[in-house]
């Protein structure tokens, strides 16, 4: 099992490995780093196909907030 985990981690880009290490270090202080052990729940951002709109589009359409104050009314 550990071999499989390691194999997945070695496939990550360098900066992501660094970020992952920082997260493990940070979360292990609170003893919740084990959430990172299940690498089958790891997903690359761009592989998401569900509602992958540009951030500006989302913000301007008020998708993420239902009561923001951008409207003229």
């Amino acid at each position: 099992m550990t071999g499989k985990l390691m194999a997945e981690v070695t496939d990550f880009p360098k900066q992501v490995v660094v970020a992952l290490a920082q997260c493990i270090e940070y979360l292990s202080a609170f003893r919740v780093a084990d959430a990172l052990l299940a690498t089958n729940f790891f997903a690359k951002f761009t592989t998401r196909v569900h509602m992958l709109l540009n951030g500006n589009t989302l913000t301007n359409l008020c998708v993420t907030c239902s009561h923001c104050k951008y409207s003229e009314s």
């Binding site: 099992m1 550990t2 985990l5 390691m6 981690v9 990550f12 880009p13 360098k14 900066q15 992501v16 490995v17 660094v18 970020a19 992952l20 290490a21 920082q22 997260c23 493990i24 270090e25 940070y26 979360l27 292990s28 202080a29 609170f30 003893r31 919740v32 780093a33 084990d34 959430a35 990172l36 052990l37 299940a38 690498t39 089958n40 729940f41 790891f42 997903a43 690359k44 951002f45 761009t46 998401r48 509602m51 992958l52 709109l53 540009n54 951030g55 500006n56 989302l58 913000t59 301007n60 993420t64 907030c65 239902s66 009561h67 923001c68 951008y70």
Partner: protein, 229 residues
């Protein structure tokens, strides 16, 4: 131990606020949202200015469900930050960016410095909706810092921050992303050592995750969500 308690109470309050306190306002509740931690690491890639090209590593973790989204992307400075960079950018991307600039007047007027980067990472930020950011104390470029500062101050999706842990309704207007700083960024080799140690030393059995996929796993959070519907 006290740190752990702090963290638990932090999440606990987030969860309590989300699931219990806001029963009267349906607009505030997003059922599939759980507090998320996002870590960003930046690496300079040279270019005309010091921070024209950067490589950004992103990882967003949901500690309560174990979902992780990661990405690595390149941020480029195209508009406004340095005139040389703008000249160097190709006509198509420039035109494209300018249209984008017009469309998103609210954000880009504030942050026109590094638009391509903002374009990329803002999309990621809006999608991932982090409740907490884990960043390096030093070493992030100025455009990044500016963008993150802006984003941390304005987070419409985020839960109200409780000042002094009081569950006062009057504090519910404040929505911010908490920013946590770590002292120094690990080098790749250090990070790899650390990660491999973590993944080889921990005795992990696949039971939890596979049972999760089979629908057998029920954390208190999921049970709460189930009770909601």
């Amino acid at each position: 131990m006290s740190q752990g308690l702090c963290f638990i109470s932090y999440f606990h309050i987030l969860i309590v606020l989300r699931y219990v306190d806001d029963l009267d306002s349906a607009d505030d509740m997003v059922a599939n949202d759980t507090p998320l931690l996002m870590c960003l690491v930046e690496q300079l890639r040279g270019g005309m200015g010091a921070d024209e090209r950067v490589n950004i590593g992103m990882i967003a973790i949901c500690p309560s469900t174990g979902d992780v989204v990661w990405d690595e992307f390149e941020g480029k400075c195209l508009i406004g930050y340095s005139s040389d960079a703008a000249e160097n950018s190709s006509a198509t991307s420039d035109g494209h960016m300018r249209t984008e600039l017009e469309v998103s007047s609210f954000l880009s007027l504030l942050l026109s410095a590094n638009f391509s980067f903002i374009y990329l990472s803002q999309t990621r930020m809006v999608h991932c909706k982090p409740a907490e950011l884990l960043l390096a104390e030093q070493g992030l470029t100025k455009p990044t810092e500016r963008m993150l500062k802006h984003f941390a101050g304005y987070a419409p999706w985020n839960l109200p921050v409780c000042k002094g842990l009081t569950l006062n309704r009057s504090t519910t207007t404040e929505r911010r992303i908490r920013i946590e700083r770590h002292k120094n960024v690990m080098s790749y080799t250090d990070a790899f050592d650390f990660v491999s140690k973590f993944y080889t030393q921990k005795t992990y059995s696949g039971r939890a995750s596979t049972s999760f996929m089979l629908g057998l796993y029920s954390s208190p959070l999921i049970r709460l969500k189930g009770a909601e519907t």
